[in-house]
Amino acid sequence: MSDTTAIPGNSMQMRWKGATEVIAPLALALAVAAVLLLLAGHNPVEVYRLLAIESLGSVKRVAATLAAATPLILTGLATAIAFRAGAFNVGVEGCVFVGGLAAAYVGFTYIGLPSVFLISLAVLASVIAGALWMLVPGVLKARLNVDEVVTTLMLNFVAISLTAYLVNGPLLAPGSANSATPMVAETARLPRLLPPSTLNLGFIIAVLLLVLYWLWDKRTALGFETRIAGLNSRFATSSGIDVPMLIIKMMLLSGAIGGLAGGIHALGTVGRFVSGFSPGYGFTGIAVALLGRGSAVGIFLAAILFGALATSGATIQLFSDVPIEIVSILQGMVMIFAVARFGWIFTKRRGAR
């Protein structure tokens, strides 16, 4: 099954177009970053070769890449689900924060529970926290048509400050000087797949959710309705779909998955909640969803790509003097180029606007 079904028709030409739409932004971003590296006195070919080796060169490095991709698969999926319903949710970052704190709280509080229950409860807490975080913007968008871009963007900053307050005060680990909760119980940690790598059960959960997303999108009525609502909400309404209710549901689902990303990051990787918990996983998730064109396979590959960049960027900084910031530069430019349409250069046609 190809992932270009969003484009009508299935001819070779369409496939080709779908492929270039994904590769072009990446190639452009790499090209611009190469110019920067040259200006800074680095050999871009050498840097890119190092990045490839450091992210995929050995089993250990692949495990590190997959571990880094885990939260990005989930934030990319969370973003894609909301986008699909036509809700422009840029608030997944906030969900990662509240979800991470909720899971960590359960993980260091109910330490008497058996491991399976404790992990389930902590994960559930992160899912609920994330979903609730998106309740207000979802309802406001669906019922009052309040711009969800603004409300979700603003809620990110609220989530970051609110969790920072909680880990600085009420939830601060006793005797700790830095803003962090106590470590979660060992029984609350997600099992590791390839120790000593931090790759853990969370990766499996993320991939399973991607498969579910693919089935949901292609095989279920709700998935079809969501797609219709996102493409043309007027048509959806006249076909008898309750679009406002659908938007609320999808915003809650988006928040739940965003919260799960935080919960898995807390239980699987960090082991607690610290202030500055997420280095922008929610925002990278937007890039992942866009570059992956909202398809399950696309999201997976894009998350691996950004995971590889993050993990290899951190290690090449140790071996060479290439600043790790090249990764942020690439990421930001991929976002920009992924939404730009270069078709006009060839067709010389003016857009409707």
Binding site: V90, V136, N145, V150, L153, M154, M335, A340
Partner: protein, 298 residues
């Protein structure tokens, strides 16, 4: 004590006000500028560098305005000519420019995050004789720099520009009805580009205010999300210059207060959430007002 708070609040208002007025013009022209923070950051860096190299604060402001304007132009072209989504492009600019700035500091100055340069020309303070000694009024009017005065002067100028000038009318037409504007022989894309260049220019000045006006050094976190507070301010002000200025002033007071509230039982982090929550409340109230007006009309 109260004089100090007023003075600090006005200092904190200036960068938000500058960027918010730019963002307001941009939004009236039909583009919501999420990238203001990136233009602020670039302005702060270039402002500090030029203030050190040229020794002139005016030159520094000019350079900061220029870099902001260039970034604004690039962002606008991506949106208007390549039909890219403005929200995504704005977020992309924030990520890419933040990376670029850190990359630049590391490469050129071999410093990570913070940059202190010698002989930085700071913004001068204008002390008004006699007025400076009057309680309250002295703190409000005296001891401020030229950029603060310029920012507040821009409030009535923006209001007048939008309501009473031909260019302002064209800008509003571009934002409200691009097709109609095109039918009148205007080029909505070019007008929108101009409004984004202006927003970048103002955000660049706001950044320079932070680096050479407030602290005298550059830090990668110097904007502290003030580009987003500016966004909050013009959403709060619903595109009206005076209301937007009021929003910026309220947020400036929060900013000044949170520093003073530390250690007094009121956590600074909770105060920091207020601007963002206020915007959500204002948008909700507006939507409720629209709905009740509609149901009454029906």
């Amino acid at each position: 004590m109260i004089d100090n708070v007023i003075h600090a609040a006005l200092v904190m208002t200036t960068p938000v006000l500058l960027a918010a007025l730019g963002g307001l013009i941009n939004r009236v022209g039909g583009l919501v500028n999420i990238g203001l923070d990136s233009m602020m950051l670039a302005g702060a860096l270039i402002g500090l560098m030029l203030a050190s190299i040229t020794g002139s604060w005016a030159g520094a402001l000019l350079g900061a305005a220029m870099i902001g304007a260039v970034l604004g132009l690039l962002m606008s072209l991506a949106v208007t000519r390549l039909q890219a989504n403005e929200i995504i492009v704005g977020l992309g600019f924030n990520i890419a420019v933040a990376g670029l700035v850190r990359f630049f500091i590391k490469t050129v100055y071999e410093s990570s995050g913070t940059l202190a340069l010698p002989d930085v020309a700071r913004l001068p303070r204008i002390d008004i004789p006699y007025v400076a000694d009057i309680p309250l009024l002295g703190a409000i009017l005296s001891g401020h720099d030229p950029l603060t005065w310029a920012a507040w002067l821009m409030v009535p100028v923006t209001a007048w520009f939008l309501s009473s000038t031909r260019a302002g009318l064209r800008l509003r037409a571009t934002g409200a009805a691009p097709q109609a504007a095109r039918a009148l022989g205007l080029n909505p894309l070019t007008i929108r580009d101009a409004s984004t260049v202006f927003a970048g220019l103002m955000a660049g000045l706001a950044g320079a205010y932070l680096s050479i006006g407030v602290v005298g050094i550059f830090n990668e976190g110097i904007t502290a999300g003030r580009g987003f507070i500016a966004l909050a301010a013009f959403y709060f002000g619903r595109n009206r210059p005076w209301l937007t200025a009021l929003g910026a002033l309220i947020f400036g007071f929060f900013d000044a207060f949170q520093i003073r509230l530390q250690g007094r039982g009121i956590p600074a982090e909770l105060v920091q959430t207020l601007p963002y929550l206020m915007v959500i409340v204002v948008l909700t109230l507006m939507a409720l007002a629209v709905r009740s007006a509609r149901s009454k009309g029906a």
